[in-house]
Amino acid sequence: MPLNAQTNYGFSSADMVDGDYNQLWVAGPLTNGAKIPATATITLNDPSVAALDTSIIVTALTVKLFKFFEFTLGTRKVILTADANVGATTLNCEPLSGTITNGSTVNVIPLTPVLSINTENYQGTTNVTRGLRNFGSPTEEGADPTSNQDQLTYSGYLITADPGLAILRAARQSLQRVYFEAIRSDGYRKAGAAAIQSINENQQVGAKVQSGFTLAVDGAITYTNPV
């Protein structure tokens, strides 16, 4: 049979994902013991929001929101196209898909982007013990999972004014956790609390300074599939 990729393998771009839209957001450092940071409320203060609008008016922000930050207001997804500082009342966004009822509110975790990265290596490791659970029953012999020890390792090039990296450094200095959301290009999302297991910086004359860190996940990761 002649090799014909289309009929034999059915290649489709929808089967694969590249990393062009990858994002890593963090919040923190978290107060000791906490695994989710405090939320902030966004309230629409705009009676005339229409489809394809590229900005909305809100009550003054109590937290800074960054470009690419995403939330659902009413039933509409809002993706910011510019940073919005504390006190801002205008949010620039990608064209809206429709109207939003004035006064709509949403509670969000104010996340900060980590900019100095271009690779992610996720390793979902399970702690296991081996042994007999029921003596005399060979079918019960095997590895018992006890806990997850997931890690996310990132690397890339240092951007000096990286707000997310500043949070990671602060968390490491104070030995506190951060909250993270790692979003893959197709919308698949991993979220949870993590300690900064390591943070590194490599410098060489004549080359861009490299930056990297490893997040040791504390407890379970929440996985969210693309909508």
Binding site: P113, L115, G156, V205
Partner: protein, 130 residues
């Protein structure tokens, strides 16, 4: 992009002022033999001594990063062409290397087709596209 190559050109003009050759322009005027442009040196002039050609068009290398960012490395090519009789000195090479430490250099010995040349690749500060 041309700002960086203009900086290279201006720096080299000062740095190599003592060894730079001369263009004789169509008007008969003399000018330092340093060329900076998107086109090759104009053939409306004659040149004597050391000619320096700074390309205005950078070589670019794009590295994509998270959040739709890209790090863009830029490098500019500088060509030293020896139209004189004396060899291009090591001191001249060293001056350029010292001024633009992040660089590489290759030499083209004189042949029956072309004069002695040195080709520098000068790496500029990377830029971030967001």
């Amino acid at each position: 992009m041309s700002e960086a190559s203009r900086y290279v050109r201006d720096t080299l003009e000062v740095l190599l002022s003592e060894v730079l050759g001369r263009y004789t322009l169509p008007t008969g005027q003399l000018a330092p033999a340093i060329w900076h442009g998107v086109k090759p040196p104009s053939d409306d002039r004659t040149v004597t001594g050391l000619e320096v050609i700074v390309t205005q068009t950078p070589d670019l290398e794009v590295t994509p990063m998270f959040f739709r960012q890209a790090a863009v490395d830029r490098s500019y090519q500088v060509r030293l062409v020896n139209h004189g009789d004396a060899q291009i000195s090591e001191e001249t090479i060293a001056k350029i290397v010292h001024a633009f430490i992040d660089c590489s250099v290759s030499s083209l010995p004189a042949s029956s087709f072309a004069p002695e040349q040195y080709v520098f690749t000068l790496n500029a500060q990377p830029i971030l596209v967001r």
